[in-house]
């Protein structure tokens, strides 16, 4: 099937969003400096902060038109398949070799219906090649198609200085080389790029050890281990933690890598509704009370898999409630902080810091270095016994190459910056700038009347487009205005909830964001995207904040 992004559908069922139109939910927090809207809500022993997390429902007519759009697309698809079958329309798809025509087809033609007839028409909006660092401005290579997106041809021209709203460059640490990256150059010159061995054999470098110690220190936990690929960190370590006779409770919107890891583990998997603690508690209760199906033996252990920030929804995990549940039912908690580490919390230490919790309350802290740190790879951190166990039993440590030394150095540099070990406050400024940019951007979009999903503190901002035709029109028009956006549709989202996803970065200046917002305002009127029926509240105080430039 076509999976242009995101991992929602791989859980085997389409999710139905919990619509929290009333939005505000309260949860406990610490007295941190960033979030100021603390308010009391009747439980005096908690210091509650108001978290605005909304999933507004679309008006009925929008839904009707959306399904109509898909219906018409499907009808035309059938028509064109019919024409292709009869040889009236030329079929551009690659075909099987002559010698192997009598083999069982490699993939079902039917599987590709969606790809061939819907995705192909708007394919130019994905995989756009770029030829510069993925900083706040990047250069997109212009390409055209002479055969309705079956193939692309590069014109040789480059669209310069497109505003990048698509890369997960939360802290702006992915940038082209400058003097601050000198250490990476040095490491590259000494070590080279590869390692050519595994951690267990001859691939543990002193650089890896340095990095692991620093990660543990950054996260304020006992130990950490790093891996060469973020995706594989999940898929190759979950099987080391749980197995047959164990139960995994997984959020329905978890990333594919978590789903794959859960499947490879051989444990039983049950899915709870997205960020829904009632649904989770029910599953937990039933699991503990009734044990395994058929054999009725008690479960060996229960592992809850959640993400810190969900990349397609912009929602933040309801961590305090989940920790309370995990304690009550003695389950273990595994958090994937791919989109939250570095980006959430007053000093960028992720969701535990955001909620003011001790990181040791979470059993397994996982995260990636791809996003905030502008590198690649992933880590698992927690108690020493956990990490020691993984050092011995992780599939990745035994069978996969270890991390490239210059990549490790980029992470070390980023961590030192965020922790302020470089002697400046630049890292902290970046984290704070990101929080400001995020709230400014979300606030303005809301006021313009767009439906945007998620938590007001999440730097991933999904803007709902709904209709498949608008997805393509939106992305193409935005590129014309020199703004690079990411659009996502089925199967990464529910069929009727296609969306654009912006990733706010600390490196975005106020001017860049204003340019984007202006273009969005225009686009919203042109394509009639302002679906929201909520009253718009003006919060002028947000606009008074002056953005400060990051010194490069």
């Amino acid at each position: 099937m076509a999976n242009p992004g995101g991992g929602a559908v791989c859980n085997g069922k389409l999710h139905n969003h919990k619509k929290q139109s009333n939005g505000s939910q309260s949860r406990n927090c610490t007295k941190n400096g960033i979030v100021k809207e603390a308010q009391q809500n009747g439980k005096p022993h908690f210091c509650d902060k108001l978290i605005v997390e909304s999933f507004e429902e679309a008006p009925l007519h929008v839904m009707v038109f959306t399904y109509m759009g898909y219906g018409i697309g499907t009808l035309f698809g059938y028509l064109r398949d019919f024409l292709r079958n009869w040889g009236i329309e030329k079929c551009n798809a690659a075909v099987e070799r002559k010698e192997q025509k009598d083999f069982v087809p490699l993939y079902q033609d039917f599987e590709n219906f969606y790809t061939r007839n819907l995705y192909m028409r708007i394919r130019d909006n994905w995989n756009r090649p770029i030829c510069s660092a993925p900083g706040p401005l990047f250069d997109v290579m212009e390409r055209v198609s002479d055969d309705y997106n079956w193939t692309f041809r590069f014109t040789g021209r480059v669209i310069k200085d497109v505003i990048n709203m698509g890369s997960y460059n939360f802290l702006g640490l992915a940038a082209k080389y400058d003097e601050s990256m000198r250490t990476i150059k040095d490491v590259l010159e000494v070590y080279g790029t590869g390692v050519a061995s595994t951690r267990h054999e001859m691939g543990t470098l002193d650089k890896h050890k340095e990095l692991e110690d620093l990660v543990a220190k950054f996260l304020n936990v006992e130990a950490a281990m790093v891996f060469g690929m973020g995706f594989a960190t999940n898929s190759m370590n979950i099987p080391a933690l749980v197995g047959k006779g164990c139960l995994i409770l997984s959020d329905e919107l978890n990333h594919t890598s978590l789903v794959l890891g859960a499947r490879l583990s051989g444990a039983t998997i049950r899915i709870f509704k997205h960020n829904n603690t009632q649904s989770l508690e029910k599953l937990l209760r039933d699991a503990v009370i009734y044990g395994q199906p058929r054999t009725r033996r008690a479960w060996k252990k229960i592992l809850i898999l959640v993400e810190g920030v969900y990349s397609m929804e912009g929602s933040i995990v309801h961590l305090p409630q989940i920790i309370a549940l995990k304690k009550k039912y003695k389950a273990y908690l595994y958090i994937d902080e791919a989109h939250s580490i570095g980006a959430v919390g007053p000093t960028g230490r992720g969701v535990t810091e955001f909620f003011g919790l001790d990181p040791h309350e979470v059993d397994v802290l996982m995260g990636t270095f791809t996003k905030s740190f502008g590198a690649s790879g992933g880590y698992i951190a927690g108690r020493k016994d956990l990490v020691d166990y993984l050092r011995v039993h992780s599939h990745s440590a035994v069978y996969a190459s270890s991390m490239s030394p210059p990549i490790a150095e980029q992470i070390i540099r980023s961590l030192k910056l965020i922790m302020g070990l470089d002697g400046t406050t630049q890292g902290l400024q970046r984290v704070q700038q990101l929080a400001k940019n995020t709230r400014y951007f979300r606030q303005r979009l809301q006021e313009m009347g767009f439906i945007i999903y998620g938590n007001e503190n999440a730097s991933v901002v999904p803007l709902l487009l709904y209709m498949p035709g608008k997805v393509a029109a939106f992305a193409r028009h935005m590129l014309e205005k020199k703004i690079g956006v990411v659009v996502v549709g089925f199967p990464a989202t529910p069929l009727a909830e296609a969306r654009a996803r912006f990733c706010v970065s600390a490196a975005h200046t106020r001017e860049m964001l204003d340019t984007v917002l202006e273009a969005l305002d225009e686009m919203g009127d042109l394509l009639q995207l302002k679906y929201s029926r909520h009253k718009k509240s003006a919060r002028p105080e947000l606009y008074d904040e002056t953005s400060f430039e990051l010194e490069d």
Binding site: M1, A2, N3, P4, G5, A94, E96, R97, E99, F103, V104, L106, Y107, Q108, W126, N127, P129, C131, A133, P134, N169, A174, K176, Y177, M181, I184, L188, V190, G192, T193, G194, A196, S197, H200, E201, M202, T204, L205, D206, G228, M229, G230, F231, H255, T256, R285, V288, I289, A298, K301, T370, G374, S376, L386, D388, Y389, R391, V398, Y399, P406
Partner: protein, 473 residues
């Protein structure tokens, strides 16, 4: 007469009914209703409903004690004390503070600290920085990636190539992109762990054949053919794959590709070939096992290899016909859902390919060196050499096991440690013993690279010989 009597009886009955007292009628009515109820109700009672009370539930929750998340690891576990390499793991390397000649890293062509590769990576670092901050679909496609894919396709003489950001994830993602539940995969028992994980993720039916035993494979294929004839409808939609490695990581042996191709056409099963060890090693130009045997590369449906061994970068690639490879761009999980390869690693791989193309003689040199040490290591009492003489990674196993795997491992580790003291860096081949489908016997893996000189190879062989004799006798 008879009719009169009957009439009389009827009349009498009706009359009796009239005369009967009310309580009698009511009683009879109740009795009739009772009989009806008995007739229609179940004759036995179902088991008592056994709903737990809230209190009982709370007690159960209170009672349940899970296993610890991870069992404790003994402090002296050998895997906890990794060898720590300071500086680059290239030809001469510092392991645990001691300078050694590296016979453990898969740096076959010595490209790991090649200045040209470093310069190319540095140029890329200057232009692109380090990370890509996104998957290929969302602005994670850089011109460098497209270049590398084109270069790999051209080098391998295939239509298309696709790159992954991690070697392990390559074949592990490629297999489940095609093979689904209900499909059948014939796989060699010695297949490496990445293949095993790919097969597990695919949830297909797995049939293991004896290592490199074509008769055994044919037996399984025949069995399947008979099965298919019984159920031709199902057979029409059941894909069949043969998954093999070019050079086997776990045994150092080469796969009999010509026979496999014959079987492929005879039984209509597609071949997936894992070439992580043979790419950049076998064949006149380093194109791998297809070139070695002179087989048309189009006869192999998919070739996968990592760029972490011969190319000394990070990542992996698959190549083949567009019809096959293009499918992975939307179905390869490790491709779609993972951040793309950092451009500097892609640039390093391109430069490594350049070097390979410019120096085709390098492969013959490597082959010669493999042969040399292979020969020199024969005849050590207590140790046997496992693997082809043309394989740059082969194994030394105990001739006779002591009977316990633990004891074997300890003996081999003793040899490795003593070699390390004498400046020869070796390592045991490590496995997750409980996870492997067919666990290979413990062994020391020897890796040959073009940088090792003849004297060094001689020295390594004689060192291993002496140490083994001291440890094993």
């Amino acid at each position: 007469m008879a009719t009169a009597t009957e009439q009389w009886v009827l009349v009498e009955m009706v009359q009796a009914l009239y005369e009967a007292p009310a309580y009698h009628l009511i009683l009879e009515g109740i009795l009739i209703l009772w009989i009806i109820r008995l007739l229609f109700s179940k004759t036995y009672k179902l088991q008592e409903r056994s709903d737990l009370t809230v209190k009982e539930k709370e007690e159960l929750i209170e009672e349940w004690q899970p296993e610890p998340l991870v069992p404790p690891v003994p402090k002296d576990h050998p895997a906890l004390n990794y060898n720590i390499v300071s500086g680059p793991p290239s030809h001469k390397t510092v392991v645990n503070g001691k300078e050694c000649i590296n016979f453990a890293s898969f740096n076959f062509l010595g490209l790991l600290d090649n200045p040209r590769v470093k310069a190319a990576a540095l140029a890329s670092l200057k232009k692109y920085g380090v990370g890509t901050c996104g998957p290929r679909g969302f602005y994670g496609t850089f011109d460098v990636h497209l270049d590398l894919e084109e270069r790999l396709a051209k080098f391998m003489k295939t239509e298309e190539a696709i790159i992954y950001s991690y070697g392990f994830a390559t074949i592990a993602s490629a297999i489940p992109a095609y093979s689904k539940r209900g499909d059948i995969v014939f796989v060699d028992r010695a297949a490496c762990f990445a293949i095993q994980k790919g097969l597990q993720a695919s949830r297909s039916d797995i049939k293991l054949f004896k290592h490199n035993d074509m008769a055994d494979l044919e037996r399984l294929l025949k069995e399947q053919e008979i099965e298919d004839q019984k159920n031709p409808r199902k057979a029409r939609v059941t894909r069949r794959f043969i998954v093999v490695e070019g050079l086997y990581m776990n045994t150092g042996t080469i796969c009999p590709l010509p026979e496999l191709v014959k079987l492929k056409y005879k039984y209509k099963a597609r071949i997936f070939l894992e070439e992580s060890l043979s790419f950049g090693v076998l064949g006149e130009h380093g194109r791998g096992v297809t070139e070695h045997y002179g087989i048309n590369i189009d006869d192999i449906d998919l070739i996968s290899a990592n760029m972490e061994n011969a190319l000394a970068s990070i990542g992996g690639f698959c190549c083949g016909r567009s019809f096959v490879i293009d499918h992975q761009r939307l179905s390869g999980q490790g491709y779609c859902f993972s951040a793309s390869l950092p451009p500097l690693l892609a640039a390093a791989a391109i430069e490594a390919l350049n070097i390979m193309e410019e120096n085709p003689g390098i492969f013959a040199v490597l082959k010669e060196k493999c042969g040399q040490i292979h020969k020199a290591l024969q005849g050590i009492s207590g140790l046997k050499v496992v693997g082809e003489s043309l394989s740059p990674a082969f194994h030394l196993q105990l001739e006779e096991s002591t009977g316990s795997r633990e004891q074997d491992v300890r003996l081999l580790q003793e040899i490795v440690d003593q070699c390390m003291n004498r400046s020869i860096a070796l390592t045991q081949a490590r496995y997750l013993e409980k996870e492997e489908k067919c666990l290979p016997p413990p062994s020391i893996r020897v890796v040959v690279t073009v940088e090792q000189t003849e004297e060094e190879l001689e020295r390594a062989a004689s060192t291993i010989k002496e140490v083994a004799q001291a440890v094993l006798l």
